[in-house]
């Protein structure tokens, strides 16, 4: 009796009318938004982190005014983005700034990328600062200039230090993409909501997508673990 109803609900939620295809499409949208946002976030994050570190590492008395302006912009950016809710940012971007576009996915990618950038910037800045100052000094003492010293010595070591935190950020980003439902993007969460509206089934769609999110996060965590072990080659003792 009970199991029959259970099976019927399951069929209705996933199989009838090939509804599982909608979920797959939803996963595609979720991953797309997360991936583009991650890329944008890393680009912005590195840029902001480098500006802020460069600014802080200038010799006292030899400050460059351009760096001062860039640094202020970077600071305002991180303060505003970290200080306001992501959902509010999404609503402002879609209904105020890009009110004339119907490309909700594009707006979502941009918003999540900008948001992620602020967090990634602080993670990277922390990573750069965590590398012993002696590494930079040794590189400079050999005649390497600032940029190659950063590129070959400091950044690779910083990346290794920040990988766990960066993985966290990626996982948070992936889950936060469920907020795109508020601007009508048909991601995985929106798909479940639509199916719930049609079938009056809540259990299977929502628990179902919860499991899908969980699986995606577990896969990402495993991938990060692999990269971490790769980078740990120079730690062999």
């Amino acid at each position: 009796m009970f199991s029959e109803k259970f099976l019927a609900d399951f069929r209705q939620s996933f199989i009838e009318g090939d509804r599982w295809l909608l979920y797959v499409k939803g996963i595609g949208v979720t991953l797309q938004v997360a991936a583009v946002a991650l890329l944008l976030g890393i680009v912005l994050g590195v840029l902001v982190a480098v500006i802020r570190t460069l600014h802080d590492q200038q010799r006292p008395g030899h400050r460059n005014p351009v760096m001062g302006i860039l640094n202020t912009i970077a600071q305002v950016y991180t303060t505003v983005i970290r200080g306001t809710p992501l959902m509010v940012q999404l609503l402002i971007m879609y209904f105020v700034i890009f009110v004339n576009t119907r490309n909700a996915i594009g707006v979502a990618m941009l918003t999540f990328g900008i948001n992620s950038g602020a967090y990634v910037a602080e993670i990277i800045r922390g990573g750069i600062m965590s590398v012993d100052i002696g590494q930079m000094e040794a590189a400079r003492s050999l005649g390497l200039s600032y940029i190659p010293a950063m590129r070959f010595i400091v950044i690779p070591q910083a990346v290794k230090n920040i990988l766990p935190a960066l993985g966290n950020e990626l996982i948070a980003l992936l889950k936060d993409t469920s907020l795109v439902t508020v601007i009508g993007v048909r991601d995985l969460t929106k798909t479940a909501q639509l199916i719930q509206g049609k079938t009056y089934q809540a259990l299977f769609p929502f628990v179902g997508i919860a499991i899908v999110y969980l699986l995606m996060v577990m896969i990402i965590a495993a991938l990060i673990g692999v990269v971490e072990r790769r980078l740990a080659a120079s730690d062999r003792r």
Partner: protein, 240 residues
């Protein structure tokens, strides 16, 4: 080779170097000694501008280093530096530690740089460590690598910042041996150290620093056997 003129350095309100005038000639082995906080390390770090002087001037091979127009990276190529804490590049193998700068600065091709590096490693008995990472080496081995890494740039002068202070006592000897060999080959050296035996044996001139000034200097015999300044006498009576 290096002329120091009225060198001053302060950190905030704290003046660490209060006007130093000094001349380091080619082939000299200058040993800098003195109590901690006397400014020895800061003086050495100013010589290749890792610390930016707040006053005075440094002239290397006839070119002012503090002049904003002079190319400090080019000058540093000719000045090797060895640090108290080794500062080997943790993310690179020993061989890559040594070849990074010569190859990136396009001084040598990778092949030439590797051949050169292997010869240098051979000289300090560590050729078998070429593929190892710094974390796999002992302190003494790291410091010997740090010395040959600096030598891989074929510098004109070598600066040593307390190279044996972070080592276990039994490893001090192997590092000092490398430095002695280098001295015999005629390298110009400036060494900040607490190893008085090394200063006596290798130094061609010993500088005693106190309170941000060079308060006494002379040959090792003069300075160690007949110190004139009471502060020097006091310091030496405690460390010898």
């Amino acid at each position: 080779m290096i002329v120091v003129k009225g060198l001053r350095k302060s950190f905030g309100d704290n003046e660490v170097l209060c006007g130093i005038d000094e001349h380091i000639y080619k082939g000299e082995k200058v040993v800098v000694i003195g109590p901690s906080g006397s400014g020895k390390s800061t003086f050495l770090r100013c010589l290749n501008m890792l610390e930016y002087p707040t006053g005075g001037d440094l002239i290397f091979d006839g070119v002012s280093m503090t002049d904003p127009k002079s190319h400090i990276d080019m000058m540093r190529r000719k000045m090797g530096m060895v640090f108290q804490h080794f500062n080997l590049f943790n993310n690179l193998t020993i061989l890559n530690n040594m070849t990074l700068a010569p190859v990136q600065l396009k001084i040598r091709t990778r092949q030439e740089a590797e051949k050169d590096a292997m010869e240098l490693l051979d000289r300090v008995g560590l050729a078998d460590k070429a593929a190892a990472y710094p974390s796999q080496l002992s302190g003494g081995q790291k410091q010997r690598i740090a010395i040959v890494r600096a030598l891989a740039m074929h510098p004109e002068v070598m600066l040593f910042d307390e190279p044996t202070s972070a080592l276990d006592p039994e490893m001090v000897g192997e590092v000092l041996d490398v430095m002695k060999k280098l001295a015999q080959e005629g390298m110009t050296m400036v060494v900040v150290t607490h190893e008085m035996g090394f200063a006596r044996e290798v130094g061609s001139r010993v500088l005693f620093m106190d309170g941000g000034k060079i308060t006494e200097q002379g040959t090792p015999q003069e300075l160690f056997n007949h110190p004139k300044n009471p502060r020097t006498q006091d310091f030496l009576s405690k460390v010898l």
